[in-house]
């Protein structure tokens, strides 16, 4: 089996296409489906004849529609021609009347019999069936088909035309083939054969709400009473008073049959018609209804609800609501089933017009899972679906059949299911509305709240029903292009802080700016041959494949686009679009890379950024090393192996150890000792690990020195620790209780990114209040503002080891020591200078020459877990 779809452009193009395909009925039956939204009845027949001439012997199956589905995309006002050439299977088509010569509908049983005689054979698998809205017994006809030919799956529906209305069922559709057209007929195409296998399923998206009710009186398709009460009024109360002004709202709230949750019955609400307006007395078809209701006031104008199914008295119904989450889950289930079908040679898909009117994005979204497959079909007014082994006529559903003779694969797009934002957006306001309705129902006091709802509903409806259709592909499309078409150069464009814009400018102004923003980008992308995607409101992506565009060209184009966007902001709100070009992206990494790039852009205030996804990635060895370190840290935390070491600090004046610095060490299960240099960076990057280490370390040091007399200890603190309120509170509490707070010195690292000096100074002051001391650690290793350092009234200043270590060979280092020493004399405050990394006598003598107060290093003391005399 082989299937190809054409969008109809002209007869000559069609001729050319057919000649390329070299269709030959001798090689197998050919089915040519035509779904047209651009041809009138006679034109359509003319087209069918033309096709029949081109491919003599082909089976032509034509229907009118409002929009076509081709290659997984929906296009209104187009015509699609789909050619299926069978290998061994057979196709039979027939166009049968549904009304007799007296214009009386043919009873469903008779119709079933006629259909069976015309097209059904033993090995028929799938029957493509199209009727027109004029025949009201569709539901029972389809039901009866299950008895007449139980093994045949059916797909199809009611043809509609480009005339569509939410307010009434127009029944204007027609079906045709090369021999003519009719709006009172049934068109069939039965596909069968030994090797042919078929699978059909559907998705609806109707959520059932409320209790079961029973139809107690009807007039034709009009439901007069439900549970003995006025049906129209009951229905209106359930939805809200808005229904009177916007009767099309009824499309959102169908009924469903109580025995089958998924089959919606669409309801029409009118309040300006009489029974005779709805059911023409002169029509033969309606005479029976008038005969059944001799007493009815046929001319009284009042509200009525009419179903599009032939609802009978005694039928049990439930109220339904078309709900986005349900649409998603139904579609996902449908997709799974379709995807798993092995012989996926040809896909048929039909979708209800009601869905497109209710949710502007629903159809587009549903179909996006089938983009790149050869799915072909159209929009219908009601569908024939295969549900749980039975064919049934439904509304507001998406039906799909997949058929084939040989195993085959289609390029499905499962990414569609991870991008449902557009649907959710559509639905958000609707849900709110539903809540209100529920509330209202609960109160049963409906008249007052109706007015309050009115404005909201109007806005909401306008948005839902009349959103202008933007044809920009979405994130799912982007992911598919990345995956299947190798679009690995993506530029993410975003405008941040649009929320603050809303507080200043009018909505109108913002909308205008937004539209301009999109238009600019769209025009540019089109001109340059790039593809543009709308990821979210204000967030655009522009993509190109690396095999077509060099990165440098792509970047310069994006820079040009950014300039365009800046320039065109005169009449609109000035926006600053942020551009982030991501190179070498895959479906898996594009989001995460963009997020990390965005953080960086925000932090550094960059508006244009180029990022390679490989950038900053660690090699395998360091990743392994990292994990090992994390394990060591975790082990140390869990097994209490955070061990404070102490190194004595030598008093150069008194010539003895003055106090000790506590240094963190970790021990692993083998007893190996780890130095901070090997684990602190990893711990910092995991934040919480660092906090745990810090807390354990401080607690241990505190415990050791809680009761010690006369020996001071210094403890390292980072700015992260100072921001950790829990830890800081613990320190404060400890200091306020301890016997000698002055024994505790807190060393603050100078080289950390101190972004909030106020906070630091507050901390320092509090420490001083409590009687403890402060030391500035690693002074001279960072780029800190010296003024800040001076303002922190520290008691000690520790010169960075890198300066001390070199002071004998390097003149500059020595000068720095001299400078610090001199500064100490100048300020006249009691600050003591510590030099660390004092490794030999030469250094020590230099330090003494500059009158440095303390020395710390291997020359005097080696760090050890114990302290002599403690």
């Amino acid at each position: 089996m082989f299937t190809w779809n054409f969008q109809y452009i002209s007869k000559s193009r069609l001729e050319e296409a057919f000649s390329q395909l070299m269709l030959d009925p001798k090689k197998g039956d050919i089915l040519i489906r035509i779904h047209t939204a651009i041809h009138l009845e006679d034109e359509a027949v003319d087209l069918a004849r033309f096709v029949a001439q081109l491919v003599p012997g082909a089976h032509i199956f034509g229907t009118s529609t409002s929009a076509i589905i081709s290659w997984g995309k929906i296009s209104p006002n187009q015509c699609v021609i789909s050619v299926t050439q069978m290998s061994s299977g057979k196709v039979k088509t027939a166009l049968l009347p549904t009304f007799d010569e007296n214009d009386i509908p043919i009873p469903p049983e008779t119709l079933c019999q006629n259909v069976r005689d015309a097209v059904i054979s033993d090995d028929t698998r799938l029957m493509l069936t199209f009727l027109t809205g004029k025949y009201r017994d569709v539901f029972s006809f389809v039901e009866k088909c299950n008895d007449f030919f139980p093994d045949v799956q059916m797909i199809g529906g009611l043809a509609n035309t480009f005339d569509i209305s939410l307010k009434e069922f127009l029944a204007s559709g027609f079906v045709f083939n090369e021999n003519g057209w009719t709006n009172k007929g049934i068109l069939l195409a039965a596909i069968g054969g030994e090797k042919v296998e078929c699978y059909s399923s559907f998705a609806s998206g109707v959520e059932v709400i409320g209790d079961e009710v029973e139809v107690t009186d009807t007039f034709g398709t009009c439901i007069l009473t439900i549970d003995g009460k006025d049906a129209a009024e009951e229905y209106r109360i359930g939805i809200g008073e808005m229904l009177k002004n916007k009767p099309e709202l009824a499309n959102l709230f169908p009924y469903v049959y109580a025995d089958s949750d998924n089959t919606p019955v669409l309801i029409n609400f009118t309040d300006d018609k009489s029974i005779s307006d709805i059911f023409n007395e002169r029509m033969p078809i309606n005479r029976k209804y008038y005969a059944d209701h001799p007493d009815i006031d046929r001319y009284r104008i009042r509200e009525y609800i009419t179903a599009n199914h032939n609802i009978e008295v005694g039928k049990k119904l439930k109220r339904g609501f078309i709900y986005d989450k349900r649409i998603i889950s139904d579609n996902r289930a449908l997709f799974r089933r379709i995807e798993n079908f092995e012989k996926a040679e040809t896909l048929f898909g039909y979708n209800c017009v009601a869905r497109s009117l209710i949710y502007s994005n629903c159809l587009k979204w549903e179909l996006s899972a089938y983009e790149n497959t050869n799915i072909c079909g159209c929009i219908t007014e009601g569908e024939i679906a295969y549900v749980d082994g039975r064919n049934t006529f439904t509304n507001c559903t998406f039906v799909v059949s997949v058929i084939g003779e040989e195993p085959a694969t289609q390029e499905y797009n499962p990414y569609a299911f991870s991008h449902t934002d557009s649907l959710v957006e559509d639905n958000r306001e609707l849900i709110n509305y539903l809540y209100d309705v529920e509330e209202q129902l609960a109160k049963a006091d409906h008249s007052e709240s109706a007015e309050a709802l009115k404005n909201f509903v109007r806005d909401c409806e306008l948005k839902l029903l009349y959103t202008e259709k933007d044809d920009i592909p979405n994130a799912a499309a982007m992911n598919m292009d990345i995956k299947l078409r190798g679009y690995d150069r993506i530029c993410m464009i975003n405008v941040f802080d649009t929320a603050s814009m809303e507080t200043v400018f009018s909505k109108h102004m913002i909308d205008l700016t937004y539209k301009n923003y999109l238009t600019n980008c769209m025009t540019f992308a089109k001109q340059k041959g790039y593809t543009m995607y709308l990821i979210d409101k204000w967030q655009i992506a522009v993509g190109a494949p690396s095999y077509m565009v060099a990165l440098s060209d792509f970047i310069s184009d994006m820079e040009a686009l950014q300039r365009i966007m800046f320039e065109s902001s005169e009449e609109y709100i000035a926006i600053v679009p942020m551009f982030c070009v991501i190179d070498d992206c895959t479906v898996d990494n594009v989001q995460s890379v963009y997020y990390s790039a965005r953080v960086e852009m925000m932090q550094k205030n960059i508006q244009f950024y180029v990022r390679d996804t490989k950038y900053g990635q660690l090699d395998e060895e360091s990743i392994r090393g990292r994990y090992h370190t994390v394990n060591v840290i975790n082990y140390a935390i869990a097994h209490d192996k955070v061990i404070p070491y102490y190194q004595g600090i030598y008093d150069n004046n008194r010539e003895g150890i003055h106090h000790y610095e506590s240094l963190m060490r970790l021990e692993d299960e083998n007893g190996k000792i780890y130095y901070p240099g090997s684990f602190l960076d990893v711990a910092r990057s995991y934040g919480l690990l660092y906090d745990s280490l810090s807390a354990m370390m401080i607690k241990k040091v505190f415990e050791k020195f809680r009761t010690v007399d006369g020996i001071s200890v210094s403890i390292n603190l980072s700015i992260r620790d100072i921001k950790n309120h829990e830890l800081v509170d613990y320190i404060f509490e400890f200091l306020s209780m301890v016997r000698h707070p002055a024994n505790f010195v807190f060393e603050i690292l100078e080289n950390e990114d101190i972004d909030d000096y106020e906070e630091l100074i507050t901390f320092v002051d509090r420490i001083h209040d409590l009687g403890a001391l402060i030391s500035i650690d690693d002074f001279g290793s960072g780029f800190s503002n010296l003024l800040h350092i001076a303002n922190i009234h520290s008691d000690y200043l520790k010169i960075d080891g890198s300066i001390i270590r070199k002071c004998c060979e390097d003149r500059e280092s020595e000068n720095l020591i001299a400078l610090i020493s001199g500064w100490k004399q100048l300020i006249g405050r009691d600050i003591r200078i510590i030099a660390e990394f004092v490794e030999n006598e030469a250094i020590q003598s230099k330090l003494l020459a500059y009158d440095i107060d303390f020395s710390q290093g291997y020359l005097f003391s080696v760090p050890s877990p114990e302290i002599d005399g403690l």
Binding site: W4, G486, S546, Y547, M548, A550, L551, D584
Partner: protein, 594 residues
């Protein structure tokens, strides 16, 4: 870890000749292997091969002066050396081995195509390619009468290739006699040898040439005898140089498979510089089939094509654009391999589906255009590509498919062929234009540097001021304070200092003020003035007769390997004339207008 702003490592490439195809290929290979992080600066030092048997006394003198360029590798700071001695005499090898200076011994070195014991060498793995060729000739073409045009016995590759060739023949049951062999000097000057071989073996069916240059000589000899390579006698060479693809008919040649000699050499040298254990490496080879001996590197089956097997398309690309995978490719650039896959895949898919719409046709045409605009022809020979496409077309057209769809596909293939052939003609035109451009530039330069002082205009350094007219994109001119006279009898001593006169960066000329010109000669290659945009430079001596004026360093762009020597000579002449005039004026012989 490489530090971003550290000074680049200076890697010298020492060659006997810069203009040979082998040298050009080697230099290109090394340049391709240099990363974009500016961590390496290449300096090519190429001399002249002295051949007392052929060269006249004057020529030998010229070459001797020219070869003083080799002194630079001893005195200048260089971090590592890649050395290709080629046909340098064994004596020279000995000199290098024992080392004429202690410093030279210390520098990490990698020798290419060499057998010097105890040194790091990068050689061709001759065997794999020769075996492939012999097996194809004997087993596929059923040939039994095979000859070889070999090289000199002092050349390690020549020896090895001969041995392997004979061994492979014997293993395949084909005998090889002394009369089947003739040795050459491994250059194209081997027509006589080739003729002798042909005379001796009138029934010869295939000839293996020790390298591509020798094949050129053989072509000439065959032409004289009215024989056509590929039709009358199958010919294949070695090295797979660009010249092989441009010969008529294109020459089948054995060449590097996964990476080129240059790439491997740099890789090995950098590893050595990083303190890793030095190791010698072999570059695997394989046979690249062209007209002179039909050979399919991969089998294409019609089934694969009709089933649109993706791996088939990639294989076809690798075969056809065989230079692509050894080229240094940057991710930022257009991925031609993927692009090729995309449009061929869609074309074959259309063939399978029997339909190609005009939109698809249009978009595929555009992709093909991009493919060629982005330099696809750099990686293949036009004739090879055309052949390859024709094979595809033949396979496609032989199938009873839709003729209408096939017309479009055939038109796309035709477009590819057109672009391939067009590129061939463009290449010729560009070569011609370039030649003309060079002549014109040289003209401008000579005119400008001769117009000095007509109206008492006494601008000094008129030569330096006009260097930008030479068409060098990047260049640096070093001149000695005083010219150095070359003396054949004694060892040349360079002064310690040299003057950096002027710099060309991106065609912009910068003249250095006097106080900044001073430069230690040993720092010649490490100066910061080198343009960062250029990965490497070639050094050419600037001299006239036996007087050396200095060195011009030319960026490794354009076709500097071919033009450099000529430019340097003209520069030398211009400087000679300038100095001559200056000295005349100083001697008051200069007619000064009043």
């Amino acid at each position: 870890m490489f530090k971003k702003n550290a000074k680049p490592r200076v890697i010298g490439i020492i060659l006997e000749e810069i203009g040979t195809d082998f040298s050009k290929e080697l230099i290109q290979g090394v340049v391709d292997a240099v990363t974009d992080d500016r961590s390496v600066r290449l300096i090519v030092l190429a001399g002249k091969y002295l051949n007392p048997e052929i060269d006249s006394a004057n020529m030998l003198a010229y070459k001797a002066v020219y070869n003083s360029i080799f002194r630079l590798d001893e005195i200048c700071d260089i971090d590592g050396l890649i050395i290709h001695l080629g046909s340098m005499s064994t004596r020279k090898k000995k000199v290098i081995k024992t080392g004429y200076s202690e410093k030279f011994q210390r520098i990490p070195k990698v020798f290419i195509a060499s057998d010097i014991e105890g040194e790091t060498v990068v050689n061709y793995d001759n065997e794999s390619g020769i075996r492939e060729a012999v097996e194809s000739l004997v087993n596929v073409n059923n040939l039994t009468n095979l000859c070889m045009l070999g090289g000199r016995d002092d050349n390690i590759d020549a020896r090895a290739r001969k041995q392997i060739f004979i061994r492979c023949l014997q293993e395949n049951g084909v005998s090889f006699f002394d009369r089947n062999y003739e040795s050459t000097d491994m250059s194209e000057n081997c027509v006589d040898e080739a003729l002798r071989l042909l005379e001796r073996n009138p029934e010869v069916q295939a000839v293996f040439c020790v390298n591509d240059s020798v094949a050129r000589g053989l072509y000439e000899a065959m032409g004289q005898k009215g024989l056509v390579p590929g039709r009358d006698i199958l010919v294949f060479g070695f090295d797979n140089t660009r010249m092989a693809g441009e010969m008529k008919p294109p020459l089948t040649s054995i060449g590097a498979d996964s990476c080129t000699l240059g790439q491997k050499a740099l890789e090995v040298l950098l590893a050595k510089l990083d303190g890793k254990k030095p190791y010698s490496a072999f570059v695997p080879t394989r046979l690249y089939g062209r007209e002179s001996m039909n050979y399919d590197m991969y089998d294409y089956t019609t089934m694969e094509m009709l089933n649109v097997n993706p791996s088939f398309i990639y294989r076809m690309f690798d075969d056809c654009f065989y230079r692509y995978h050894t080229s240094r490719l940057r991710r930022e650039d257009v991925d031609l391999r993927r692009l090729y896959f995309e449009f061929i895949f869609r074309m074959l898919q259309s063939m399978k589906h029997r339909y190609m719409g005009p939109e698809e046709f249009h978009s595929l045409g555009k992709m093909i255009d991009v493919f060629f605009e982005k330099g696809a022809m750099e990686y293949t020979d036009a004739i090879k590509l055309v052949k390859c496409i024709e094979k595809l077309q033949a396979a496609m057209n032989s199938q009873p498919r839709s003729p209408a769809a096939n017309i479009r596909i055939n038109r796309l293939f035709q477009r590819m062929k057109d672009r391939a052939i067009y590129s061939l003609s463009v290449q010729k035109t560009v070569e011609h234009d370039l030649h003309y451009e060079n002549v014109r530039m040289m003209h401008d330069f000579m005119v400008m540097s001769s117009t000095y002082g007509i109206h008492g205009d006494q601008k000094p350094d008129i030569v330096c001021r006009n260097i930008d007219k030479l068409g060098l994109t990047h260049a640096i001119l070093y001149l000695f304070e005083k010219p150095v006279k070359y003396d054949l009898t004694s060892r040349l001593i360079f002064p310690e200092n040299i003057k950096l006169k002027c710099i060309l960066r991106d065609n912009e000329l910068y003249l250095l003020p006097k106080e900044r010109q001073q430069c230690l000669i040993k720092e010649m290659f490490t100066r910061n003035e080198f343009s960062l945009k250029c990965k490497g430079y070639a050094a050419f001596p600037v001299f006239y007769e036996d007087v050396l004026y200095g060195v011009v360093m030319c960026g490794l762009v354009n076709n500097i390997c071919d033009r450099g020597e000529y430019i340097a000579i003209q520069l030398g002449r211009a400087i000679y004339l300038e100095r001559l005039r200056d000295s005349d004026r100083n001697n008051d012989n200069y007619p000064i207008s009043t």
